[in-house]
Symmetry: C2
Subunit: 311 residues, 2 copies
């Protein structure tokens, strides 16, 4: 669920790195941890969740808070203190008081770092209007010959807001709340239903909630360009031309397929998404990916509907 949302966000960012910032807004600690992992697999570049970074070997990345700036007598003193502690590629949050003056203060610190052989990596803007703010800040940084300093945007971002920032000067995104809670779809309507046991295939029949009976395999069908065209949901006993998607992981309580690293899973996931036709990947796509039941599955569903109907 989170991986699907995260991948939409990554696609909207069109190559700009997206960092996972959701810890404080996740619905619990394990949601934050596993959500950071799912986001990385879906193409995020890193997380600010230190435990997730250590536990799952995900690149760590983050910035400081407004409260850090507010604990100093003025913003410039805060920036200097932060750059002194983290001289290697720091990111400075520039909108505690005023984003324009914040950009100028960051430029002062960038030049001071340069003199010591270090580089300011980016400034972070956390308040609207992000589009106009990014343009203003880019202008100030360019005037100061700081073309290499990036502009990192945060502020309740999602795939639609990121899309609307295209054409402005944001070079990276931090995404928290909307991704880690998977707004607006905070749960998948998946359920456990019995499809088969030692007595054979089973079916559930209530109105609008019919299930497909029997042990199944899913086959993927490709188009002439080698892209995903549709899937066929079939009985395991049927012979279907297509790539089977379900593979056995555990047999008799023992793992029979190798464990994959988070990086291998990420590479696999991003390759699979790249095989989805462009019109199905766009964030406002109305084009649904089809899954078609096989002839055998339709026949079994019909015969069991008769057998179990009205008992």
């Amino acid at each position: 669920m989170i991986a699907s949302k995260a991948n939409r966000i990554v696609n909207a960012a069109r190559g700009a790195p997206v960092i996972e910032f959701g810890l404080r807004r996740a619905q619990g600690e394990d949601a934050a941890l596993l959500g950071a992992r799912a986001s990385y697999i879906a193409g995020f570049s890193g997380t600010s969740n230190v435990k997730a970074g250590i536990e799952f070997d995900i690149p760590l990345s983050g910035t400081h808070a407004h409260s850090f700036v507010m604990s100093f007598k003025d913003e410039l003193s805060a920036f200097r203190a932060y750059a002194k502690t983290f001289p290697n590629n720091p990111t400075l949050l520039i909108d505690t008081y005023d984003v324009e003056q914040g950009a100028r203060n960051a430029a002062i610190v960038a030049h001071e770092l340069q003199e010591k052989g270090f580089k300011l990596k980016a400034v972070r803007i956390d308040s609207d209007p992000l589009a106009e703010n990014s343009d203003l800040v880019r202008k100030i940084l360019d005037e100061e010959n700081l073309q290499y300093v990036g502009i990192f945007a945060t502020n309740d971002l999602n795939e639609y807001k990121i899309n609307s920032l295209q054409g402005h000067h944001v070079s990276g995104y931090g995404v928290g709340t909307e991704n880690i809670t998977c707004k607006p779809v905070s749960a998948i309507s998946g359920v456990y239903k019995l499809v088969e046991d030692e007595d054979g295939a089973k079916i559930k029949l209530s109105k609008c909630k019919k299930t497909y009976p029997g042990k199944k395999q899913v086959y993927r069908i490709f188009d002439a360009d080698g892209l995903f065209d549709h899937d066929i949901l079939a009985l395991e006993s049927e012979t279907i031309e297509g790539a089977p998607l379900l593979e056995k992981v555990v047999e008799n309580g023992i793992r029979v397929s190798p464990r994959r690293s988070v990086h291998e899973i990420r590479d696999y996931a991003l390759h699979q998404v790249s095989l989805l036709p462009e019109e199905k990947r766009s964030i406002d796509s109305q084009s649904k990916y089809e899954t078609i039941p096989s002839a055998g599955l339709v026949a079994l569903t019909e015969s069991l509907s008769k057998q179990f109907g009205g008992q």
Copy 2:
């Protein structure tokens, strides 16, 4: 957050018991556990989350799944087996195949239990149309002289759907997904900002995201009927007529206010909600509860805005 959502649901149920069914859809295990606790505090009558029941002393309640029915050769055999194992006030799920026939099968088992000195507590309906289904099932049970058997409804319920079932024959509700993930508001936009340190009060100024500086107290103002009228957000140093809401819990690392049981917290919460005017409690209320900054807070905000502005 969950408690607020849960209380809206409880209010919509107008006295009918609501059971928390969210474990499988919560965003992680600790979200399920703490969400069950929050729901109970907000007025739910129990939970199907066994760990939450044991850990927090919340009443446990639940029913069986469709897969239980499907694992038998027919529905009646499944109901008989369930009633044999749980003869004390069981609830039978009657819509695996056909809700009308399910109600008749449940009636057979209810009479069989009666002969043995036990009682069927309720039947559960988990599919739409819930309103019509509940009316149909009530009629069947009444014809069978089973007026005491309740009708328990589930199926992606929320406060609006429960409200629309008023006037039909549902006597209890099970609520999962929508409550435990707090749809559609899956996160509160609360943030940590520094308001005061040893150097005095602090403020954050970026556009649309200004903070109120200084150490505060919140005072509640009551109307002539003793109901909540509005709150005043004031500096701790101000003298305001009203009931102070913030109380000290920890001092120098030591708890200074007594720990309260989940039942005491629940009683307190429900009493407080009862003091909210009816028009603010209704689920489609447009009437906002007001919090007004005090004169002292407004003055401090203005003076700090000047001090920290444009630095």
